[in-house]
């Protein structure tokens, strides 16, 4: 089961988010996106301190699993799934290379930075992401 997808730019700004299976409705989405960023950022820093790894791959609790991928330009991609899901770092890498770079970075009309509020707003990216995530094993 895939719950949601989040993308943060290098200024810690959430530039894209999307829900699929939503159960516990969070009252405040802005709070949620900050909490997710906070935990991902802290765990990444701990990983870097303890080892030569660039970042962690995933973490899990009893009810969900969070997969993480960071691009060389510090774009952070986060996928939240149920704990049974196998590592989805490659899927995130594909989303970055196949969808974000293709449809957002290479789009001359898309802004390079996403100041507060706008974020990635691109139909091709939206549709591509939706069909890619739905095609992943363990989506439903």
């Amino acid at each position: 089961m895939i719950y949601s997808f989040w993308m943060y730019d290098r200024h810690c700004e959430c530039i894209y988010s999307r829900d699929w299976h939503r159960s516990a409705a969070h009252e405040d989405k802005e709070d949620l996106q900050k909490l997710i960023y906070g935990s991902v950022f802290s765990l990444r820093n701990i990983t870097r301190k303890l080892s030569d790894d660039d970042a962690f791959l995933s973490f899990q609790t009893s009810k969900y699993k969070l997969h993480f991928f960071e691009s060389p330009s510090n774009l952070k991609l986060v996928l939240i799934t149920d704990p049974m899901m196998s590592d989805a770092c490659n899927a995130l890498r594909q989303i970055y290379a196949g969808l974000y770079v293709e449809y957002v970075v290479k789009n001359p009309l898309s802004p390079i930075e996403h100041p507060r509020g706008t974020g990635v707003d691109n139909d091709l990216f939206n549709m591509g992401l939706d069909s890619f995530v739905r095609s992943l094993q363990g989506f439903a």
């Binding site: 159960s23 516990a24 906070g38 802290s42 990983t47 301190k49 080892s51 899990q60 609790t61 009893s62």
Partner: protein, 135 residues
């Protein structure tokens, strides 16, 4: 191979025990270990709040390309953090064994003050002996 490092945190997130086994992890100074412990303590609390499903526990496992971090919380709120190889299996039994050693040689030590750093020679000795047997 096996267990790389063990951290024990008290209820407030203070580091009361830390020991590395082998030298596959970077050496840090003692202040860094306190920071890591404190950070993990808060991340553990935050991760219960970002759950898409109600009633989630805190962070239990984190995987990186070179190690995994497992967190076990005892009934009394003490956290055991175990850093192992990614291939290590049977972490649950390792954790419960460490909890046993903690109960036997730390909690039953009349000179140990609750929530304070663990300086119990016997605990050190038995822990070292046990970890060296973990394949």
């Amino acid at each position: 191979m096996g267990v790389k490092s063990i951290y024990i945190l008290n209820k407030a997130g203070g580091l009361i025990f830390q020991r590395d086994f082998g030298d596959s992890l970077s050496k840090l100074d003692s202040n860094d270990y306190l920071v890591i412990a404190g950070t993990l303590h808060s991340v553990h609390a935050i991760t219960t709040r970002i759950s898409p499903v109600a009633g989630s526990s805190g962070l239990t496992v984190m995987e990186t390309p070179s190690f995994s971090l497992h967190i076990f919380q005892s009934q009394t709120g003490i956290k055991f953090m175990i850093l192992t190889d990614r291939q290590q299996y049977g972490i649950d039994s390792i954790a419960s064994r460490i909890h046993h050693l903690y109960s036997d040689y730390v909690m039953k030590n009349p000179f140990y003050t609750l929530e304070m750093p663990i300086r119990c020679e016997k605990f050190d000795r038995y822990l070292g002996a046990y970890i060296s047997t973990v394949a």
